[in-house]
């Protein structure tokens, strides 16, 4: 299992995948908003989205887990 974490503190702006989606390595899965900028967060590995740990609008700190890929 692989965890996708927030690269920096900010708000979860958009979650662009759903549980069960197949994602490829490098694909954007979540878009954060920090300091008025969109920060795409991509999957470091390919796989199936197993769980999404945050909701759009949530505030996350650097290192917080956003979702899990299996």
């Amino acid at each position: 299992m692989h965890e996708v974490v927030a690269l920096m503190a900010g708000n979860v702006w958009k979650i662009v995948v759903q549980v069960g989606d197949v994602v490829e390595e490098g694909q954007d899965v979540v878009i954060l908003e920090s300091m008025k900028m969109e920060i795409p967060v991509s999957a470091e590995v390919g796989g199936v989205v197993k769980a999404i740990r945050v909701q759009e609008g949530d505030f996350v700190n650097e290192g917080d887990i956003l979702l899990e890929i299996e």
Binding site: L7, M8, N11, E33, M35, P40
Partner: protein, 453 residues
Amino acid sequence: MFSKVLIANRGEIALRIIRTCKKLGIQTVAIYSEADAGSLHVKQADEAYVVGKARVNESYLNIEKIISIAKETKVEAIHPGYGLLSENAAFARRCEEEGIVFIGPKPDVIARMGSKIEARQTMAEAGVPIVPGISFPLAHVDEAANVANEIGYPVMLKASAGGGGIGMQLVYDEEQLRKAFEGNKSRAASFFGDGAMYVEKYIDNPRHIEIQLLADQYGNYVYLWERECSVQRRHQKVIEEAPSPFLDEETRKQMGETAVRAAKHIGYTNAGTVEFLVDEQKNFYFLEMNTRLQVEHPVTEEITGIDIVEQQLRIAAGEQLCFSQAEVKKEGHAIEVRIYAEDPKTFFPSPGTITSLQLPKGEQVRHEIAVQNGSAVPPFYDPMIAKCIVRGSDRQAAIANMIGALREYKIEGIKTNIPMLIDVLTHEAFQQGNTTTNFVNMYLNKKGGKTHA
């Protein structure tokens, strides 16, 4: 003159306004979000009140809460700074209704210039040259494609309510236009509550040159020369200077007089800026009017000796401008750099805590800064944490002074764009005055993310 003013802003601009208020003997009221409780503007104001939670929608944009603080503290006027509520016509109107002076132009003037489409129409009526394009909202992507074909690619796709580069995209062909249209439209709709889009011809290698205006309530107008703000990243300015290295006296005068004509046409009052795009042949085209104090106002102050915030307060208090156009000085050269909490290569933001800060000193160096050793830079606001402004007897001297200052500027704990600023200032193209809005892409060739809001 007012005896008490509320400052509806944060960061360096709140401190800048407090400084002039103190000089004029005006009491100041600060507002702050929970994330800004330890901020310098809270400490330096005579009174400070919490206005809500960290996010701007719950704090600095909460019109009714700000109005109620203004009433409780019995201020006579509100200075909105830049960004936030500074170009919000509804806020200006609420101030008016409550008998509080909004330091800026009238609400209907703000609204007219806030819609970029309406501003284009208005300026065309005033005989001000506008960028070739359309002055009506596009209903559908097919209409956008038809219009773009008529104008000829490349074109700029723009949001009518946009600003700071949001909802704006350069497209080179119909395929790109079709791809870009819906995304920018929905981004504009979600951020500005208005998804109206229009199209302008793309001007090759343009420069961004703007005219600073002052207008009192008695029909007196002056222009305080120009600022060149061509060096940008993500459509946001990074380095600004006055005067422009590109303009000759004749073009400078034409642009100044055109800006005054534009302001007169709409009955503009207080400080404002008319932004122009200037092509390689020195043709200039109206881009937009900013109905507020600009981030880069200090470079104008440095070459004219005029305190623009003081003039804003005097005009709002009903005083007449006390100097004429012929009395506006233009001495030496000034450069401002914006120091952003961001990665100098990717331009991604870098919120965090400043663990060490050492500022360059010198007679030629002016700091507008809202952070100190130990300050938190929260992720909720704009990444600009400071501005550094230098003077020089001429452009070459000013550049040398700025490079010297930036090499002594030490910030630790967060990343900043200072290395990128030094790269620009030491670049031959910048030193020769070849400053177009493509500078960063053309000479530094670095990629960043998309502007969000």
